[in-house]
């Protein structure tokens, strides 16, 4: 009896602690916009698992806050649905029910490969609601839902541009990339990258540490790359990427290329030794597309996009390099000219960039491409 009581108490403690961690988000999930109650403006709900990751989700959240702050008749509310990133179905479906059932919002935004399944379920459940998937990696089997516009990012093109820049910048003839996980969606980042490097005869090291958080491993993986002669290293590995930047910052002659947002700006003020190793960052401008979509909803033209799935590439400024002052000061003019030339060619469709998501036989095509000029 006593033992059972103890067990219950401990279980209760665990639960209440877990509840604490969710409690924080419940508070932030209660929106309090200044113009609540007015029906005339456009209302957009953005459902994200969490914000504040200083990376992927924050790029969108920041755009949402900016659109909300502008005096343009659009109010945006961000809901942090799943702070622990558990992808728990009941959490997500309840959140969708909260925002969809009253028809209060003109547009409901969500997405990302981990969570888009819930979005598609909601699309089916609330056919009169308009949705926007800000980053899809797979569409439902029966095709794009008729009440949703899905976009993704021409990451293959982005990788092609990063590869061109790396090839131009390297002095040793070897470059490297750290990719958090080895899967088809992540490899879309580097398919164009390895393609252009192999074409140019530049050797590359590719590392899959298999984690997005293990920073110490990221640092050692990168040190091993630098030992193999890599002097321009791109990180596509979330939090583990902090270890990559740290390792690059310890070598004066090694450049790091950031990802998702302008990482030079992120570290410029408080970690100059990190910022000074980041030549540029490969941007995935979810903010640009979000702002365009919000504008379309306001203009009433969004309905034309429903049922479509589109890739936002270089032409739409969906992807690109961060051209901050540091990049302009440290990247020689002829290199920038070569990069600009590549950007133009890719935009014009003059080069055919390989894309893992479009490979019919990924399991044989991808290793062939990946290992073409790879250094082990």
């Amino acid at each position: 009896m006593k033992k059972a009581l103890k067990f219950l108490m401990a279980a209760g403690m665990t639960l209440s602690l877990a509840a604490c961690s969710n409690g924080g988000s419940a508070a932030t999930a209660t929106p309090a916009p200044a113009d609540e109650g007015s029906d005339d403006g456009v209302k957009i709900a953005v459902l994200l698992p969490f914000t504040g990751d200083q990376s992927y989700f924050d790029t969108l959240a920041q755009a949402a806050r900016e659109v909300d702050a502008e005096d343009n008749g659009i109010s945006v509310q961000i809901f942090e649905v799943d702070p622990s990133g558990s992808a728990d179905e009941s959490l997500w479906m309840n959140a969708f029910a909260d925002v969809c059932e009253d028809g209060e919002y003109d547009l409901v935004v969500s997405g990302n490969n981990t969570y888009e399944g819930f979005l598609y379920q909601a699309c089916e459940k609330y056919p009169d609601q308009m949705f926007y998937n800000f980053d899809y990696s797979a569409l439902p089997e029966e095709g794009t839902p008729a009440n949703c516009y899905c976009v993704n990012w021409a990451l293959d093109d982005l990788g092609y541009v990063v590869g061109t820049l790396s090839a131009e910048m390297t002095k040793t003839g070897t470059v490297g990339v750290v990719v958090g996980m080895d899967n088809q969606a992540m490899n879309q980042f580097i398919s164009g990258y390895v393609q252009v490097l192999a074409d140019k005869g530049v050797k590359y090291v590719v590392s899959y540490p298999g984690s997005f958080t293990d920073t110490d491993l990221g640092k050692e993986v990168t040190s091993a790359m630098i030992d193999k002669g890599a002097d321009v290293i791109w990180q596509v590995a979330g939090g583990l990427g902090n270890g990559v930047i740290e390792a690059c910052s310890q070598h004066d002659d090694v450049w790091c290329i950031g990802v998702d947002q302008d990482q030079y700006l992120q570290f410029k003020d408080t970690k100059p030794e990190w910022a000074n190793t980041i030549l540029t960052s490969a941007l995935k401008n979810t903010n640009v597309a979000f702002k365009a979509v919000a504008e379309m909803v306001k203009e009433g033209t969004y309905a034309d996009k429903l049922g479509k799935a589109e890739a936002w590439g270089i032409a739409l400024n969906g992807v690109g390099l961060a051209e901050n002052d540091y990049y302009l000061a440290n990247c020689p003019e002829d290199v920038r000219a070569a990069v600009a030339d590549t950007l133009a060619k890719v935009t014009a469709g003059e080069v055919e960039v390989k894309d893992t998501l479009e490979m019919t036989d990924y399991d044989t095509e991808w290793p062939e491409l990946l290992n073409a000029n790879r250094v082990e």
Binding site: Q54, K271, E376
Partner: protein
């Protein structure tokens, strides 16, 4: 291809990598070992490392002095250990359950405090934080090979090596260590002999908290120079596994901790190879854990069966 892999395993750089990566695992291992030798299980090593990592950074930022930051990290580590002691010894809860509770909420709680301090939930990059560096030892530095191993390591790596020796002397050569082991072997007998079992166990838990916090601070203050969400990533569990394999033997503890570091180093080589299936890369150190736990339990089973050791 395979030749490349093997040749990179027999280089000095690989040895240096392993030595660096061993530090947090060694800290976690002695954290688990010191409580186990006094007869309490502390499975909250992973969470104390997380708290220590964050507290070290926030303390260093708040005071502007990295050593004050280390002191605050140590205090938080000891405080968390006292919390375990309070729940398990005063309130009589199972220390395993306390450990589970702590591990469950460590990541979320650390993010909560990070958010309070910085307004961000990913890293502490926005805080201007003094951090720890490496130490070059003048005379030894110039010796070939040995100089590279013994000099130029991180400060907390040296701290770790010194602690390993100090802890050995404390546990095996002092009356205090003997009492600790007595509590671990048979608490009732120890009590009969006049040892205050509760006090000894609290002491061992606090030591464990300090070691784990140092392991966390190695990551945040010494290696990466910032706190990044989820950065402990299972290193604490490797320490607990090393303790499980050691089964009370200090030599086995260090050996298994070093083996985990070696396998973590091997996983780096594998992560960059075209032949090794990368899906398994992250599993390599854990396969090693599984393998060695199996071996060690077979050995102890055989010893019990042959009657050399009495079953406990």
């Amino acid at each position: 291809m395979l030749g490349n892999i093997f040749s990179s395993l027999f280089k000095l750089t690989f040895l240096l990598t392993v030595l660096r990566m061993a530090t947090p695992i060694l800290f976690a291992s002695i954290a688990a070992f010191v409580t186990a030798s006094a007869g309490v299980a502390n499975i909250a090593v992973e969470s104390i490392m997380t708290f220590g990592a964050l507290a070290g950074i926030l303390g260093s930022y708040a005071t502007g002095n990295v050593w004050a930051g280390v002191a605050i990290g140590l205090l938080v580590g000891a405080g968390t250990a006292l919390l375990i002691a309070f729940f398990s010894m005063r309130l009589g809860a199972d220390p395993i359950l306390i450990g589970i509770a702590l591990n469950t909420f460590a990541d979320s709680l650390s993010i909560f405090f990070l958010y309070l301090a910085t307004g961000e939930k990913g890293t502490s990059a926005s805080l201007l934080t003094p951090t720890l560096g490496s130490v070059d030892i003048p005379g030894i530095k110039s010796i070939p090979v040995l100089g590279e191993i013994l000099s130029g390591q991180y400060i907390l790596t040296y701290v770790c090596w010194i602690l390993l020796i100090v802890l050995f002397i404390m546990i095996y050569k002092t009356p205090l260590g003997m009492r600790m082991r007595a509590c671990g072997l048979n608490a009732d007998a120890a009590r009969t002999a006049g040892i205050n079992v509760g006090r000894i166990r609290v002491f061992s838990l606090v030591l464990s908290g300090l070691f784990a916090a140092l392991g966390g601070m190695y990551l945040s203050l010494n290696s990466i120079h910032l706190f990044s969400k989820g950065m402990v990533s299972g290193l604490g569990w490797m320490g607990i596994a090393a303790n499980g394999i050691a089964n009370g033997s200090y030599g086995m503890l260090l050996l298994s901790a070093l083996l985990f570091a070696v396998f973590r180093g091997i996983s780096i080589v594998f992560s960059q190879s075209a032949v090794f299936p990368v899906d398994l890369v992250r599993a390599v150190p854990y396969f090693a854990v599984f393998f060695f736990l199996t071996i060690s339990s077979i050995i102890s089973y055989l010893r019990i069966k042959s009657g050399k050791v009495e079953e406990q």
